[in-house]
Symmetry: C2
Subunit: 427 residues, 2 copies
């Protein structure tokens, strides 16, 4: 690099998977970044494993200063941008807040932090005339944050629905394509390193909930913390549910959905029945995707790697370069994050939708029994295995669940499968 | 709108399909735009059909000044941004150059103009300290330009491949899903208003070529005008070609592809054979999509509406708001367009790839005959109708075509189908 322009200096806290990818991209594609925007230099790295960070710098030929204390980045007046990649909500919160208060721009990939304390941290950034960038916090390499905040700024968002967790999408893909049950597919995901030993966070939808919370907050201008998201995972989904969905020409996907209707904001994670022609239905393996329905853009979908060292690093580097451009041009805070709206967030009890469920042991008279029990029957179809497949009209899920329980008690049906939300997006 | 901040003033030239959509979005979503960014006002519209433009303003309750002379926008010192939506390369070139020279930011949806004169126009913008935005020139509502220039700034682009023309994608979808031949599917597209009376521009790939030229220029930093793009359309694709592709578990899509390999830039439009699992294979009807392979982000795909009043208007409005933010913060020209690289662009003669072709009247000895003719045979498979399906290894298309012609003359085969490029993107 023969560029004589003074670089923008970056300090990275945490040289793990994403930190390593970020540093690697900044080093190996330095010329490209410099040509396209401004030179960016990794001036400091803070990581408890100093030797790991130092080895990376040696491999990449970087003269970066490595230490085990993140405060070294804050106190270094040459550092323009602090990149927080330690994760979690404890130390990370302190690092981000301290860096912002010291007037440095901050880039983070930390969904837990933004979903819990985004309102507080964006306010600190605004107060100190700096900015907090978080592209990598949702869907890894997919640039959904910039697209929502900038490209689609002219849209009212009808709905945002995403496949936001690669582990569960891998499990559902294996269940669908290879006919596996949940436990077997989960085990494969664990063997491949997609799922952790305790898979709760992924399979019960908590990871996706954080990403929905962030997208809902951005799209609707009202901060939604992840504890407000109504969450249902995929651990109850059976091979039979998926086989029945396929008989209907549909796929089951774990979706994170944000919606605004009649002044009420919905932020949910649930397994959904999608027509095979829906773009989200074709998203396979561990890929992530975000489907946006805007009143101007209509239907838009972005699909890509939701995790991984380099894909997530790509998003972090995009943010670093954006902040670097703003620093150079004196327009830090160019795209503000405001959460001024007061919107009520729908609770689980108020959840309403159309549902799909398999019914066992039902005879010809079941339609009347279902209707008598208060179920909005939209369609009843016989499956190849003798079960009946019920598709309901719009109704509260709680009412459907209790009506089915009552029908089982009355022996009108022997049993039923998992209640799965039907996701409709007319083309 | 109770906002007391002085708005950024926009002048729109051309209140047709895209212009109408743009003005409509700016009017109906004015509050949203103002809350998220800065207030934007449509101060002037220039259109020859003054009464049409005036009727739109009346409908939307706008106090916009309507005239039939675009010079009124240039000479109005209150106008900050000129939006060129007249199309074509004649008057539009004059309008854009004049506006830039007068120091105004320009937003355009004009692919013909950018693909032909982008280098000249971006240089004028840089010289006059202003900016030229063109998101809507490629793939309508899909924000691929911002994604390439900003979100993915840290990537070296291995390849960019797009379904960039909705008309041809609609035709190919109908041929594939309903078994129609090209002529019938084209007629349907014409009846629906997707295809024009003279469909050459769409079906022969010239429209897609302009979009490839723009993306190649951005991705590789070397201006590629559309006359450098090697173009092949879909008019030779038959129902038999598509049926054979389906037998192989593949789809045929018209792709615009930009690639950089061994210092040579490839910019092409061709019908391609895609594995059904490829994300581009699932893009149906008149939808557009752009698949990006970056060395950091890996595989990313964006899919959405490639045309239409509001989707394209959404992209124009995104650019207007971006320029408005820059004007307010004094950072106009924040993301520069530079074409400093000198790269040689591959010509049609040098085109090389793996190909798929149906062979008629071939017997068991054909493999030897094919090999003897210099064809790199990767796979030969019997189709249900008795034809042989040939999949080649990497070879020049011209050599394959002449070898097949020679084999037909020698009566080693009776005939063959269309030569279709095999598009490989390992997952």
């Amino acid at each position: 690099m023969t560029n004589t322009v003074k670089p923008v200096n970056v300090g990275v806290v945490g040289a793990g998977t994403v930190g390593g990818g970020t540093i690697r991209i900044l080093a190996t594609n330095a010329d490209r970044i410099s040509e396209r925007a401004v030179p960016v230099k990794v001036r400091r790295i803070a990581d408890r494993r100093v030797e790991v960070a130092q080895a990376l710098c040696d491999e990449l030929g970087l003269d970066t200063i490595v230490s085990d204390d993140w405060n070294d980045l804050i106190t270094d007046p040459e550092i323009d941008i602090v990149v927080e990649l330690v994760g979690g909500k404890g130390l990370a919160r302190t690092i981000v807040a301290t860096a912002l208060k010291s007037g440095k721009c901050v880039v983070t990939a930390n969904k837990d932090l933004i979903a819990a304390y985004g309102d507080e941290l964006f306010a600190i950034a605004a107060e100190h005339g700096t900015e907090l960038c978080f592209e990598a916090s949702v869907a890894g390499g997919i640039p959904i944050i910039q697209v929502l905040r900038e490209s689609l700024v002219g849209n009212n968002f009808v709905k945002i629905a995403g496949i936001l967790n690669g582990t569960t999408n891998y499990i559902l893909t294996k269940m669908s394509e290879d006919g596996l049950d949940f436990a077997t597919a989960l085990k494969m995901a664990q063997e491949l390193g997609y799922a952790e030993a305790d898979p709760t966070n992924d399979v019960e939808g908590f990871d996706a909930a954080r990403k929905v919370a962030i997208m809902a907050s951005l799209a609707y201008g009202c901060f939604v913390s992840d504890d407000k998201v109504v969450v249902e995972g995929i651990s109850k989904i059976t091979a039979e549910d998926i086989a029945a969905a396929k008989e209907l020409g549909c796929a089951i996907k774990l979706l994170g959905v944000a919606r605004l209707a009649e002044g009420k904001l919905t932020a949910q994670v649930y397994p959904a029945l999608l027509d095979a022609a829906h773009p989200l239905a074709a998203v396979r393996d561990s890929y992530n995707a975000v489907f946006v329905h805007g009143d101007a853009v209509e239907k838009l979908m972005l699909q890509g790697r939701g995790a991984g060292s380099l894909p997530t690093g790509s998003a972090v580097v995009g943010d670093i370069v954006s902040a670097a451009r703003n620093i150079r041009l004196g327009c830090v805070g160019r795209v503000a994050c405001r959460f001024d709206k007061q919107l009520s967030v729908l609770t689980a009890d108020a959840e309403q939708g159309c549902y799909f469920v398999r019914l066992q042991g039902a005879d010809a008279a079941v339609r009347e029994a279902l209707v008598a029990a208060g179920i909005a029957v939209a369609e009843l179809r016989a499956a190849a295995n003798g079960e009946l497949l019920l598709l309901t009209g719009d109704m509260p899920k709680t009412e459907l669940a209790s009506a089915l329980t009552a029908l089982i008690e009355k022996q009108a049906i022997c049993g039923c499968g998992t209640l799965i939300r039907i996701e409709k997006d007319e083309n």
